[in-house]
Symmetry: C2
Subunit: 239 residues, 2 copies
C-alpha cells in the first residue's frame, strides 16, 4: 500500500527491507475524502498523520477578510501533516482538491519509530525538510516572480514531483484543479492566472486544457520560470 511513500523516500536514499515493513505496518487505516472535504481541520490536534495514497490535496490558511492562501500542494507519497506529530496543533487546514485516499499513521507509532529506527526517523524528518524547501521556493515565486513565471514554475515542480511517483506521461501530467485554486496557491487572482496561462500558451511553453498540463519544451519552460530543481532534493544519497 505504501509504494508511493517508498518511491518518494527511496528516490532520496536507500530504504531497507525492514524499514519498508515498518512503514507498511505503521498504517492503522485508510480513509477516503470527497472533493472540497477537509482532511485535516485548522486548529485541531491530530493524534495521527495522513499520507496521500491517491488524489490531489492542499494545505491552506484562511484570512480574516475571507481570502485564502494555499501553502502547498500534496500528491501521492506526501505526508500532508507529518508535522502535526510534533507541532501538535494544526495551524492550517488540509483540503482534498480531488477525491482522495489517505493512509493514516498514528503518532504513537511514529514516536516508537523515532526510538527504534534512527535512519527511518531521519528519512521522515527529511520529508518534512523537503516540504520546507518547497515553501522557500514558493516564497521566492510569490515574492519576486511575475505571474506567468509563477505558473510556469509550479508546472515544472509538479511535473518532477509527480514523476517520482509515476504519475506523469513523457511531457504531460494531470492537474485536476481549478484556476481559482491555482490562484490561491500562487497569490494571484483568477483573472491573472487565466492571462498567465495564455501567455505560456502563446509563447509555446505549456498548455493546460481539460485538466491536463502539457509541457511543450521543458528546458525552455524551466528557463522562463528560473527553475532550479535542486530544491526538490531528487538526489539519492546517504542521509
Amino acid at each position: 500500500m505504501m509504494e508511493v511513500l517508498s518511491a518518494f523516500l527511496s528516490r532520496r536514499d536507500d530504504l531497507g527491507e525492514e524499514e519498508r515493513n515498518q512503514l507498511e505496518q505503521a498504517v492503522s487505516r485508510v480513509r477516503e475524502f470527497a472533493v472540497d472535504q477537509d482532511i485535516v481541520v485548522e486548529g485541531s490536534r491530530p493524534t495521527e498523520s495522513c499520507l496521500v495514497l491517491e488524489g490531489f490535496t492542499a494545505r491552506y490558511k484562511l484570512l480574516g477578510d475571507g481570502k485564502r492562501q494555499l501553502t502547498a500542494f500534496h500528491i501521492p507519497g506526501d505526508f500532508v501533516d507529518l508535522h502535526s506529530f510534533l507541532l501538535k496543533t494544526m495551524e492550517h487546514g488540509v483540503v482534498a482538491l480531488t477525491p482522495t485516499r489517505i493512509a493514516v499513521v498514528p503518532h504513537a507509532t511514529l514516536e516508537r519509530l523515532t526510538r527504534q529506527f534512527p535512519h527511518l526517523t531521519r528519512l521522515l524528518w527529511l520529508s518534512t525538510l523537503i516540504d520546507g524547501s518547497i515553501h522557500r521556493e514558493w516564497l521566492v515565486s510569490i515574492g519576486r516572480r511575475s505571474g506567468a513565471a509563477r505558473i510556469a514554475h509550479v508546472f515544472c515542480e509538479l511535473f518532477l514531483r509527480l514523476q517520482v511517483v509515476g504519475r506523469t506521461k513523457p511531457n504531460s501530467f494531470r492537474l485536476p484543479i481549478t484556476q481559482a485554486e491555482l490562484g490561491d496557491a500562487l497569490g494571484m487572482s483568477v483573472v491573472s492566472v487565466n492571462r498567465g496561462l495564455q501567455e505560456l500558451r502563446d509563447a509555446n511553453l505549456a498548455t493546460w486544457r481539460g485538466s491536463v498540463v502539457t509541457i511543450a519544451d521543458l528546458q525552455r519552460l524551466e528557463e522562463f520560470a528560473d527553475f532550479d530543481p535542486r530544491y526538490l532534493n531528487l538526489e539519492r544519497e546517504p542521509r
Copy 2:
C-alpha cells in the same frame, strides 16, 4: 554557551539535564561573521550546521535577474541550516545582517544524537518544523496581505520570537537591518516599505526609528496584521 538554544527548546518542551549537556558538547567551535558576510554559501555541501548565538541573519535566494528574496530571519537560538544535515546541498544562502556569532555543530554529532537521544532528536526536528510553519505564514503574508499588514505581521512575529530568547523590552525590540532588507523579505520595494511604515506610524500602531521597533499597542497591531501566534508554537508540551 547554548543558553539561547535551551531557551528556544525549553519554551516548547521539557529539556533534561543530559540533553542540555549533549547540546553544549555538540559545539565544535564558534565563528564570527561581519555584516553582509555569507555564513552559508548557496550550493555548498556543509558538514556542520550553524546556530546563531548573537546577531541577526537571513536565508536568501538570488534570482536570475538579480532580484533577491529573503526566506527567513534568524535570531539567537535559531539553527540557520540544521536542514543541511539531511538535505546535504544548500539550495539557499545565509547572510549576516549584523555582526554575528555562530556555534558550529558537526553533522556527525547530529547523526550520533539521532541514534542515542530520540527525544532530543524530536526537539531538533521540531525546530525545523517551526521554520516550516513560519515559512507558511510568510506565504500567506506575501500572497495575500497588504504591504502595511506584512510589515505589521513580521513585527509581531519578531517581537514574540525575540521575547523567547530575552531580546526585547516591554514594548520594543532592536531591528538593526535596512528597509531594503525588510523589503527583500516581504517581497516589496524599498519605497513600499517606507510608505507602509508611515502608514503604521500614522495609525499609531508601531514605529521603527534608529533600528528600534516600538509597538504602540500590540493587540491593535496584531488585529491590523491578522496575526495569530499559534504558528510560532510557543506552547510547552510533551513532544
